[in-house]
């Protein structure tokens, strides 16, 4: 048994760690290529002030989630699965069920070396499937992109004489964010109504006092208050971790 553990350490854990780390570091560099391309080839750069403020707004919740999610999902995703899943994303809706399915199909014991191997292979298979589907989808959309751009611009141009139908499409396209927030509001209320009380209540109070505040001012304190309220409810047993994510 110790022999098997040692083989597993040397032939699985060590090389997975090396590949995982190197690929993610390279990927982190690649993340900035589109931004660098815009700067070096088109002279486009974000204005520093708004950029930093937007980043503060996003980081105020993404850092909390970025630290906690790998810890929470690790037991399901496993070692190799963690490296892959957090690079590729869609963890809850895709990688977690995939890992569970693969382990179930093969019939491995939870937490065993076999389960690690199976989870890694299953998640790798799911990633290859996802990327292929995306590439096929992109190729299908490619011939339409000029039409989509032209329609978006025409619908958004107040000077253009466009039809009522196209104007409606323009209005619809502009409302992607409120539509998202409506949908998220729905998820709140049905899945975890208690946790939603404080952030939603506060959100409504602030929005009716002032509806055009910059996110960088509103979001960080809201995140903190929401976490404090959740802590209060968790300690009293009003909310539980199950069914949360």
């Amino acid at each position: 048994m110790t022999d098997k553990t040692q083989i597993f350490q040397e032939r699985f854990l060590n090389p997975v760690k090396k590949t995982g780390m190197v690929t993610i570091i390279v990927a982190m560099f690649c993340l900035f290529l589109p931004g660098l391309y815009l700067y070096f080839f088109h002279g486009l750069a974000p204005p520093v002030g708004p950029f930093i403020k937007a980043l503060i707004a996003v980081w105020s919740f993404m850092i909390v989630m970025g630290v906690l999610e790998p810890i929470v999902y690790y037991p399901i995703l496993g070692f190799g699965g963690t490296y892959m899943s957090f690079l590729v994303g869609n963890i809850l809706n895709l990688r977690v069920p995939v890992s569970a399915t693969a382990q179930q199909v093969v019939g491995t014991e939870e937490g065993s070396p076999e389960a690690e191997v199976v989870s890694t292979i299953g998640i790798a298979g799911s990633i290859i499937a996802s990327e292929l589907v995306m590439i096929v989808g992109i190729l299908a959309l490619l011939p339409l992109i000029n039409k989509i751009s032209a329609a978006t611009l025409a619908a958004g141009d107040p000077e253009a004489q466009v039809s009522m139908g196209l104007l409606s499409v323009g209005i619809a396209l502009d409302q992607v964010l409120p539509a998202l927030f409506g949908a998220l509001g729905g998820i709140f209320l049905f899945r975890v109504p208690k946790l939603g009380i404080v952030p939603l209540g506060l959100g409504f109070i602030i929005a009716f006092l002032k509806s055009d505040l910059p996110y960088s001012v509103v979001i960080p304190p809201m995140v903190i208050l929401s976490i404090l309220a959740a802590r209060f409810m968790y300690k009293r047993g009003w909310v539980k971790g199950e069914g949360m994510m």
């Binding site: 083989i7 597993f8 997975v16 590949t19 993610i24 982190m28 690649c30 993340l31 589109p34 815009l38 486009l44 204005p47 002030g49 708004p50 403020k53 980043l55 810890i71 929470v72 963690t82 690079l87 994303g89 895709l94 995939v98 399915t101 693969a102 070396p113 989870s119 790798a124 298979g125 799911s126 290859i128 996802s130 589907v133 992109i138 959309l141 751009s149 958004g156 323009g170 209005i171 396209l173 409302q175 964010l177 409120p178 539509a179 998202l180 927030f181 409506g182 949908a183 729905g186 209540g201 506060l202 959100g203 409504f204 009716f208 809201m222 929401s226 959740a230 968790y234 971790g241 994510m245």
Partner: protein
């Protein structure tokens, strides 16, 4: 037509966005090879490992098409290559939209609306890219010691960690959900539309036991919300002259 969308869809942008997808493929293939080799050495049957790969591959196909639907939502304002990259890597439609919205918001725009231009696009690209880096740093450097990390963070209480993750996210979007209600007009129509569609889908999923719908619900509800805003304008003139 000259616009920032020409840049967003330019060959150079395609190239810049493809690099990371190649890294994703290399990672997946290498880890698969390592797993097969190690699995064989600890006495696992090749057939069982193949069935794990097949299970992963097939389970992912339909949910990935759902991701494609989310991708379509980003294309009008962000072009094709960048949303493709974002949703192939790290991304989720929710995060990407919120990050792009935060960029637009700090530039004084009303979200991803007609005023979205080259500068807004560039800012969104940078915010979306940098915003989600924390998770990658944690995974790149702390995965081997994640069990130790668990005890240090949140006292190792997994239930609390789940609650806290959800609370952080809800705190972030609380104001964003309320904003359209205070503003009224098309944003309110879209918000109500999205909310009602999600509620209906939730009922269908739970009562009708249509679990496959889960992956599609968010994108469908967003499209529903947008459609309601468009129709509210078409039929009732809500948003005219705005």
């Amino acid at each position: 037509m000259d616009s920032y969308l020409d840049i967003a869809n330019s060959p150079g942008m395609w190239l810049a966005c493809s690099a990371i997808i190649i890294v994703v493929f290399i990672q997946a293939v290498r880890l698969t090879m390592i797993s097969f080799r190690a699995g064989k050495e600890i006495g696992m049957d090749r057939k069982r490992m193949m069935s794990a790969f097949r299970a992963g591959f097939t389970t992912a196909l339909v949910p990935s098409i759902a991701i494609l639907l989310g991708l379509a939502l980003l294309i009008p304002k962000l072009g094709l290559p960048f949303p493709w990259m974002r949703l192939s890597v790290i991304g989720s439609v929710t995060y990407e939209l919120i990050a792009a919205g935060a960029a637009a918001n700090e530039l004084g725009l009303e979200g991803l609306t007609a005023g979205f231009d080259a500068v807004a696009f560039t800012t969104a690209v940078w915010v979306m890219s940098m915003g989600a880096i924390a998770g990658l740093v944690v995974v790149a450097f702390f995965t081997p010691s994640i069990k130790k990390l668990k005890d240090k963070v949140a006292g190792g209480d997994e239930g609390w960690m789940k609650v806290m993750t959800a609370a952080a996210f809800f705190g972030a979007v609380g104001y964003m959900v309320a904003q359209p209600v205070a503003k009224g007009g098309p944003p309110l129509a879209a918000l109500l539309g999205g909310f009602i569609c999600m509620a209906l889908l939730g009922v269908i999923i739970q009562v009708g036991k249509q679990n496959w719908l889960k992956e599609w619900a968010l994108a469908l509800a967003i499209i529903g919300g947008m459609a309601v805003a468009g129709l509210a304008f078409y039929w009732f003139g809500i948003g005219a002259g705005a």
